[in-house]
Symmetry: C2
Subunit: 417 residues, 2 copies
């Protein structure tokens, strides 16, 4: 029993730290960008229709336009009176018994109301003959205002702008658009065992990699992060971090937060007056995760001082990686106004046992079978096994408090592909 009592640490739960982190969102402000640069940014205004959509009774098939009641009265042959191209001012049918050739995208001419596609018409000597027994009133006319009325909201504030939304912005003439500013992020790696990627490491060294996975994860969010490496020297850490704290919205550390002799980060952050909000989480990987905040000298648009937020992730590559996905990304999403709830669920495709009383981020392959997402565990060799990530699609979040998880059980997942 001694073993157990010694093991018992006062770890904070994943649920609790999620709440703490989500309560520390920062407003990065708003900026105006060209609509073409707004893809994957977060809209910070409602976008309204500048006019009705369609803005006119719009012809939706190439063909001829006639008066419906002429057809109803049995008429099938119509003399062609003119052509209405797209983009040309609206014509008017002069003789009710005639027709006008109309092009897709054109304004429906005055005095006609129904369009018969060329495929259903024979044209000879300037006479169009309709090869149909019946037609519908206003067929092939996309009526003015049918999709949206002038001043209707088409895109709402806090929308993540998609490729389709770019088209909407173009259509309503929003060539300048307000979006959430991106945070200024500094990624800091520590660890004297690390050498540059283009160096040949000694036997006891490895190359820097966490900083690049973090940069890439942020690139996926359209954030361009800065990065720096600081050696495991307490004074150097203190001086450098002190400068950084004043100039960034977020600091992401990788390493030096555990119980090692050179794990100076919690101590240094404490001395720099960064308020610790938690340290050590009941999860695997990533147990030594440290999180805090400090009032920054940066002010927002209204002059209010913002916080600088510090995510200090453990240095094992899988720990850093999953922690950024699981904690930084939703924090960022909530900060810019997006829904940060994880709505991705997958079904465990086999029984799985995990004994420690910790939330476990299980590496999985994801497969869509008939519309259902199945997760196949591919565990790897622990938080140091970066290479295993190359073979999986994401992490299944298995809660603590149980050790056997049955095939068919459903859990949240985070995909990184």
């Amino acid at each position: 029993m001694k073993l157990k009592s010694v093991h018992k640490e006062n770890l904070i739960s994943v649920k609790e730290v999620t709440e703490i982190i989500q309560n520390q969102t920062v407003n990065f402000g708003v900026e105006e960008v060209n609509f073409q640069e707004s893809l994957h940014r977060v809209l910070k205004e409602n976008v309204v229709a500048d006019r009705d959509f369609p803005p006119f009774n719009r012809v939706s098939m190439d063909g001829i336009a006639i008066k419906f009641n002429q057809f109803q009265n049995g008429k099938r042959d119509f003399k062609i009176e003119g052509i209405q191209p797209a983009g040309s001012p609206q014509l008017t049918l002069k003789n009710n018994e005639n027709c006008i050739e109309v092009m897709t995208g054109a304004t429906l001419p005055n005095n006609v109301d129904s369009v018969i596609p060329y495929e259903l018409v024979t044209i000879k000597n300037g006479i169009a003959t309709i090869n149909l027994q019946e037609i519908k009133h206003f067929q092939n006319v996309h009526k003015k205002g049918k999709d949206r009325k002038k001043n209707d909201v088409i895109l709402t504030e806090n929308t993540l702008i998609s490729s389709a939304d770019i088209g909407v912005l173009a259509t309503v003439g929003k060539y300048k658009v307000n979006v959430a500013k991106q945070p200024k992020v500094m990624i800091i790696s520590t660890g004297d065992e690390l050498v540059a990627v283009n160096e040949n490491p000694l036997d006891c060294q490895i190359r820097r990699s966490n900083v690049y996975t973090l940069i890439s994860l942020l690139e996926n969010l359209n954030i361009k992060a800065d990065n720096v490496h600081i050696s495991d020297d307490k004074e150097k850490l203190k001086t450098t971090i002190s400068k950084i704290l004043n100039n960034y919205d977020v600091l992401l550390f990788s390493g030096a937060v555990s119980k090692g002799k050179f794990d100076f980060i919690p101590e240094v952050l404490n001395e720099l007056k960064v308020e610790k909000l938690f340290h050590r989480v009941s999860q695997r990987p990533g147990k030594p995760f440290w999180f805090g905040r400090i009032a920054s000298s940066i002010t927002d648009n209204l002059g209010t001082k913002k916080n600088t937020v510090v995510f200090a992730f453990p240095g094992n590559p899988v720990s850093t990686y999953v922690s950024c996905l699981r904690y930084f990304q939703p924090w960022y999403k909530k900060s810019v106004g997006l829904d940060a709830t994880n709505k991705n669920f997958a079904i465990l495709d086999q029984d799985y046992t995990f004994k420690p009383n910790l939330t476990y981020f299980l590496q999985v392959k994801l497969t869509n079978k008939n519309g259902s997402i199945y997760a196949t565990p591919l565990t790897g060799h622990g938080s140091g096994d970066l290479a295993n990530l190359a073979d999986v699609d994401g992490f299944l979040e298995i809660p603590k408090g149980k050790d056997l998880f049955l095939k068919g059980a459903v859990f949240n997942y985070i995909s990184f592909r």
Copy 2:
């Protein structure tokens, strides 16, 4: 019955055109880029481990390292002989009865084989006492070569490089990496009804939008496309397109492929000797889709002439959009070596009726309920209704040949979020 016979067009099926397009892939070649610029690019070489992973017996917990058999023989108190930091040359335990303090990421010293974390140790006056009844041989040691052996392939050719893979590239020192070149793409819009986004359209005009949705869709694939607008003037089209054909791998047209009087594109492409592979597909939206190819003056690495491929999409905004997602994207994927099969399936969450004998790209909201993806139809007002795309997540591909689709049926979907 006349109605039906008139309607009967010789339309080619979605299945057939998919095959035709997938047989027209183009090899864009290979280029070497900095690994930091390779995110979301396609790897064009196998990447191997430059040494074992881990490269040494790696300490995976901060604590003390001892000889296992000392513990087995009942010893619990170990004099601390030294400290082994990460990144320092490997120490050797001199006295078998002593221990060495070891840090996460450090090389396991010589002459020790098991690591006890600090949490389970009491240290006093230079003596570490282990508070345990049992330990495991090699516990908390991530053994050399356990994850990968030197020269093992870690990343295979034709991998879409993820944020995790960037870390793998860094770790093995691949600071330059071969990736598939991106295609040179020209997006061409036509239509005299179109004005610039920052202009105020006349009543009969609308703003250009398709070109921007296409640019954005390609941006999602990391492709920077050029674009040009050409007015509906046959000679001008011919001159301009002729120049473009010789300088691009792909042309994407939006508009002017249907039966209108000013739909010059098929005619112009024919006169420019672009070989038509099909025109008009049994689908909605996007029926007038035209596709072809021409031997280009561009040669590949081996001096072989490549084809320039032409996707001429119909000009209605939803037609252009879904056609690019459904046809250009898989063609691009296969061209660069990725699996182009759509493995995304969703479950229709209500009965849906669609009468025309056409493959239908139904606009849907997608919801993950307990690990299953449900598709809720949100039809909109046809292919001109761009605004409806702002409210949906993607398209469910409903096959032709039936008109009632029951709740619970499973179909491929394409998501654009």
